[in-house]
């Protein structure tokens, strides 16, 4: 089920809220778990069993690891759980990719029937892995209550597209949490903000990107290519950060407090800075569970640092999908981060801020071409057109039509990609905390604004046909 759908907004969510809040506290986790399983089963009922298998595996092995005294046995068990989790993920997500590679070298190709990717498998697998690794590291105690561990992994707000929540973050909240009226207000506000990002900005940007990336080489002009990649850059940000906002907001309504997943990445001034602001839960997962165990930056030789960075970023790219373009996209960032660590950051510090912004925006947009394109041929042809290295004209009627029809969406998207609203929000909340009359007027204004925004979003949703989230396929 998709958050930005009428069935979620006007059927599932109100019913879950009613059931949850009229239930006695002891049943609330069960209600949430059942709702989460229903939420997941809605689109792909058969894959609930796969997810349950993953939960049982991690539940049992988490307890076994905790109860094992011998360090070598603990380590063996940890490797067992890691390999098991990655085997499930690998079968569904990467097997076809590797079979294709192997078949290139075989006279008698291996026959492989492609299997559909279970939605959210990369997210819940990483979430489950973080739990078991934390148990192994003795950072957390193994969860003995099967329902509670199931709820941690399946909790519907973050189940299918993150953020990747750490067990440490919510372990206490699963046991005991209090959702106050302030939590409901903050959660509602955040959910509607995320919904607006997705429906009012990401979807129109997606229309442009889909159109431009479907154009054949002959129809693509330099201007249209830039419009297309700008639209895709805004689409993917508002799509994914919108989803994260909705997840964080929904969780807050039920009393859970999740970590932030985005922090205005397009205002970054370096690639390093960008990745501190983009998909924070994934970056920190790889930092804590791959980069640090490899030695991180505390290494005997400098080359090992660069090796570690390249490994982590190539894996980050590969996490997104089983294709060479995703791997190249990750490696591209690995190279850039290595260059920044080596010398670029020092140079960047000396140039004007505006140039640093331009540097990161161009770098990121080029990266998104690889992310969006199906193959390298298309990606390189697209980039050549962007920089006028083909015979493509500067613009044509498509360029004018897209600019004219979507100018307002671009302006709104660019404004909301910057922390202007956040500055206003912090100022108003600060003032509301010191003035009761301002607090009242702010809450009334917010109620009218977000209520109207919800109805406005509904208008878009009634007209929408299909609007899946980009990160669903990861």
């Amino acid at each position: 089920m998709v958050f930005s759908s009428l069935i979620f907004l006007y059927v599932f969510l109100p019913l879950v809220i009613v059931l949850y809040f009229i239930s006695p506290k002891m049943l609330r986790n069960t209600i949430l778990l059942l709702a989460s399983l229903f939420f997941y089963a809605w689109g792909e009922p058969k894959y609930v069993l796969l997810m349950m298998l993953s939960i049982v595996l991690n539940y049992v092995l988490g307890i076994v690891i905790e109860n094992t005294a011998s360090q070598s046995k603990r380590k063996t068990l940890l490797w067992l759980v890691i390999v098991s989790n990655l085997a499930i993920l690998g079968y569904y997500k990467y097997a076809g990719f590797f079979v294709d590679i192997i078949n290139n070298y075989l006279a008698q190709p291996i026959e492989w029937q492609a299997v559909p990717l279970p939605i959210g498998i990369s997210f819940y697998t990483f979430q489950a892995l973080s739990y078991v690794i934390d148990v192994y590291r003795k950072d957390v105690k193994a969860q003995r209550n099967f329902l509670d561990l199931s709820l941690f992994i399946t909790l519907f707000p973050q189940l299918v597209a993150g953020p990747i929540v750490r067990y440490q973050t919510v372990a206490e909240q699963i046991k005991k949490r209090l959702a106050t009226s302030e939590d409901w207000m903050i959660g509602t506000r955040r959910f509607v903000q995320g919904l607006a990002k997705k429906v009012l900005i990401a979807n129109p940007m997606g229309e442009i990107a889909d159109h431009v990336f479907s154009l054949s080489g002959g129809d693509l002009t330099t201007g249209t290519a830039w419009i297309g990649i700008l639209a895709y850059s805004l689409q993917i940000y508002f799509d994914f950060s919108g989803y994260s906002d909705m997840a964080i907001g929904l969780a807050r309504i039920f009393g859970f407090k999740f970590e932030e997943n985005f922090n205005y990445p397009y205002i970054a001034q370096s690639v390093t800075d960008f990745w501190r602001r983009w998909h924070i839960s994934l970056s920190s997962w790889f930092r804590d569970y791959v980069y640090f165990p490899l030695g991180g930056s505390r290494v005997s030789h400098e080359w090992k640092l660069y090796r570690n960075l390249l490994v982590v970023w190539t894996l980050t790219g590969f996490w997104h999908g089983a294709s060479w373009t995703f791997m190249a996209w990750g490696f591209y960032y690995g190279i850039l981060i290595c260059l920044e660590k080596w010398v670029l950051l020092k140079w960047l510090a000396r140039i004007p801020r505006v140039l640093r912004h331009m540097y990161i925006l161009v770098i990121v947009m080029i990266g998104w071409v690889f992310f969006r394109a199906n193959d390298f041929t298309y990606a390189f042809a697209f980039i050549k057109t962007m920089f006028g290295l083909t015979d493509a004209p500067l613009y044509n009627y498509e360029t004018i039509l897209l600019t004219k029809d979507y100018a307002i969406y671009f302006v709104i998207a660019i404004i909301f990609a910057m922390p202007i609203y956040k500055i206003y929000h912090n100022w108003s909340e600060q003032k509301a905390s010191t003035s009761l009359s301002f607090d009242w007027s702010l809450r009334i204004t917010q109620t009218i604004y977000y209520g109207a925004l919800l109805l406005f979003i509904t208008m878009f949703l009634v007209n929408a046909t299909h609007n899946p989230f980009i990160y669903f396929r990861f």
Partner: protein, 393 residues
């Protein structure tokens, strides 16, 4: 201490989403959307286990919720209005609206791949050859469509519509395939104007445009038949219009957001009401229908009813057989048609002893053997020039 004002937003939010749910449950489902011209999804309350486990049922439910969402048409209409406010060139990615004149103009069509046109030409060749086996002559007519000839006002930066080029290319291919064909526009050019011939808000021709088409059709067909058949001259005095508001097909797609003062008009001799015996199907089926139930049903509607093109002239019948007692020619003519022909079907029928009208979208028969068994004197396929397939869209 909890502040009461913090309840305002969550309660409002809950009231909207829960209220939407309750209204949805209490609202009676609509079977049909007049604006979208399609059947709306109904609730499948007894899904099979296979439907549930395959995920098909969840898709059905989502479609049902979307189709039956409370005040769906109002939401859709407001969305069109929103697009107009923000200056979208082609509303719903289909039509531009000129607010001054009230004309709705379609987005320019791209040139069709030659294979697609060749495929249609090949179908026509098979049809023609199949009929020739039984010595039944055949002609393909393309009728001028509004989308092809009503292009103004259109944004200056947009490319030209490829409708005329597609039509020209198709006729070249059809000629090369040895099939007799005629572009009706060529015989209507003397007094052709988009303003006169087409509705502003609908994709069809007006009665005046249709009448010009009828005159050209009869003139050119009489040459082919080798008979002197003169069309009924257009008599301005005979024209009468209904007071009803018109629901143009393109305006319906835009949820009737374009104001217009268009009227449904008729121009037909009084004798039409009595000179035909009309069969809904074949003569052998024996199901007859009165003239007023087939043509111009809107004449019987109340003046405040909003009337669409099908109600104004004729709906699409799979097969309609019209037997005429005051004929000029004793021939049996078969016309395979789309909705453009509906306006003039009785005008054409008034010249022939028998006219059979077939609509392949609804006729569940193998067309060539069926026509061979019917043994008509002449077969015409008359489609508007945007239809580039044997099975019209």
């Amino acid at each position: 201490m909890r502040k009461i004002q913090t309840y305002l937003l969550p309660i409002t939010f809950f009231c909207i989403i829960f209220g939407g749910f309750v209204v949805h449950v209490l609202t009676v489902d609509r079977p049909q959307s007049e604006m979208e011209n399609r059947a709306l999804a109904s609730a499948n309350i007894t899904p099979s286990p296979q439907e549930i486990f395959s995920g098909d049922w969840s898709k059905q439910v989502e479609t049902y919720i979307s189709d039956q969402f409370p005040a769906r048409d109002t939401w859709m209409r407001n969305y069109v209005n929103f697009q107009r406010i923000v200056g979208k060139t082609y509303l719903n990615d289909k039509y531009a609206v000129d607010d001054k004149s009230g004309w709705i103009i379609s987005k320019p069509a791209a040139a069709k791949p030659e294979e697609e046109l060749a495929s249609f030409a090949s179908d026509l060749q098979h049809l023609s050859e199949g009929l020739a086996e039984k010595h039944i002559p055949f002609t393909f007519y393309s009728l001028p469509a509004k989308a092809t000839y009503s292009r103004e006002p259109s944004p200056g930066y947009m490319p030209e519509d490829a409708g005329i080029a597609n039509n020209t290319k198709l006729h070249e291919l059809v000629t090369a395939a040895g099939v007799d064909n005629l572009r009706l526009y060529n015989d209507m050019q003397d007094d052709f104007s988009a303003e006169r011939n087409f509705y502003k808000t609908d994709h069809h021709w007006t009665i005046r445009g249709a009448y010009s088409g009828y005159e050209a059709f009869i003139s050119t067909l009489s040459e082919r038949l080798g008979e002197t058949i003169a069309p009924i001259p257009y008599d301005e005095e005979k024209t009468f219009c209904l007071p009803n508001q018109f629901a143009g097909s393109w305006n319906k797609i835009l949820y009737m957001t374009v104001d217009n003062d268009e009227q449904i008009c008729y121009n037909e001799p009084d004798s039409f009401a009595t000179q035909f015996t009309i069969y809904d199907g074949t003569i052998e089926d024996g199901v007859t229908a009165p003239y007023e139930a087939v043509y111009g049903r809107a004449k019987q509607m109340s003046a405040d009813a909003v009337v669409n093109y099908a109600e104004a002239y004729s709906r699409d019948f799979a097969e309609l057989t019209i037997v005429n007692k005051n004929y000029d020619s004793d021939k049996h003519l078969v016309v395979i048609k789309d909705s453009y022909f509906n306006t003039i079907q009785f005008h054409v029928a008034s010249h022939f002893k028998t006219l059979t009208i077939l609509d392949l979208r609804y006729l569940d028969k193998e067309i060539i053997p069926y026509l061979q068994s019917m043994q008509p004197d002449y077969v015409v396929l008359a489609y508007n020039d945007r239809n580039l397939k044997l099975m019209p869209e």
